[in-house]
């Protein structure tokens, strides 16, 4: 669709909507990695990805649309049970989601998707769909994830980094839990003694 006639407000709406979709997708992806058998999580990821694809297509955002479309394809195969969640598939979906966020942020900051190379991730998804998983060394950097230019505002950490942080949390962030022998806090003293639930006798 030609973007010439479009109201800038439509793009602003899209950015808000896209951010909401990513906010739904990202935590569910991290949760899926911990619970790969949870099909309801897949549905919770599939729907916003589907919406992202549809809306971006209407606005002529071809890079976002193409990548969201591929991500939707593999999510659909997972939720239908034709593919099983595995680390390589999780890795490529996380990479796709990171690229989508990068392009949405570019769109917000510059008005365009930016020069983001989605071809490597799309090829990896296609290989998974074709049953030909690619052997990419774990931890090797994604060329496509390198920032094209210095962003004006600090970007949030990538999903892959958040995943690593979850696996190995910095010690200083760990809360000091009470020992298991500590008795639970009593509700006594929290509620005013004169308070009674309406309609109930004090002996109830």
């Amino acid at each position: 669709m030609s973007q010439d006639f479009l109201d800038p407000e439509l793009f602003a709406d899209f950015i808000v909507e896209a951010r909401e979709h990513l906010e739904t997708i990202e935590p569910n992806l991290l949760e899926l990695e911990r619970n790969p058998g949870n099909l309801s999580l897949l549905n919770d990821i599939f729907r916003p990805m589907h919406s992202l694809k549809g809306a971006s297509g209407f606005l002529g955002l071809n890079a976002i649309n193409g990548l969201a479309h591929k991500a939707e394809n593999i999510l659909d195969e997972l939720r239908k049970g034709n593919l099983a969640v595995n680390p390589e598939i999780m890795d490529v979906i996380l990479a796709a989601t990171d690229l989508l966020r990068t392009m949405i942020e570019n769109l917000e900051q510059t008005g365009a998707e930016g020069n983001v190379d989605t071809s490597a991730v799309i090829a990896r998804i296609a290989a998974q769909l074709a049953g030909r998983p690619t052997a990419r060394a774990s931890g090797a950097p994604h060329a496509a994830l390198r920032p094209i230019s210095r962003p004006r505002t600090p970007r949030r950490p990538s999903l892959r980094r958040l995943r690593e942080r979850r696996k190995n949390p910095p010690k200083s962030f760990l809360p000091s839990w009470p020992s298991p022998t500590t008795s639970p806090p009593s509700a006594k003293g929290i509620w005013p003694t004169s308070w009674r639930r309406p309609g109930r006798s004090s002996s109830a």
Binding site: M1, D13, V16, R47, H50, S51, G54, F58, L59
Partner: protein
């Protein structure tokens, strides 16, 4: 009096975009965010002349929405256009077989959407 179009889509971007295109053509537009919301809008503002609906939506999908609308005597003949990203033969067949008059695959060209809407409104 302008013709009144109800747009049902869970994507705010798509709702706003289709509404923008249709309003430019002089139509009155009401938007609903899923099938259930669409039914509520039809109930509270029944003077709708044409419905454009998505298929894949939360709470109530487009298939259930169209079926429910077609079961109402007053909406038995209202023109319904499906606007969906699902473009496979079986999706189109499913949409048309439950009562849609036309099936368009996203992203549809604005001029094609307008032409089809005008054709259906006579």
């Amino acid at each position: 009096m302008p013709k009144h179009i109800l747009i049902v889509d869970d994507s705010k971007t798509v709702r706003n975009l289709v509404a923008f295109i249709m309003r430019k053509e002089g139509f009155k537009v009401t938007a609903a965010e899923d099938g259930l919301d669409g039914l509520e809008k039809l109930y509270t503002d029944p003077l709708v002349d044409l419905i454009i609906t998505d298929i894949n939506m939360p709470r109530m999908d487009g298939i259930t929405f169209i079926k429910t609308v077609r079961e109402q005597d007053s909406y038995r003949d209202i023109p319904i256009v499906v606007l969906s990203t699902e473009g496979e033969e079986r999706d189109i067949h499913a949409g048309l077989s439950i009562g849609a008059n036309l099936y368009m695959v996203k992203p549809a060209q604005p001029e094609v959407m307008v032409r089809n809407v005008k054709m259906l409104l006579g």
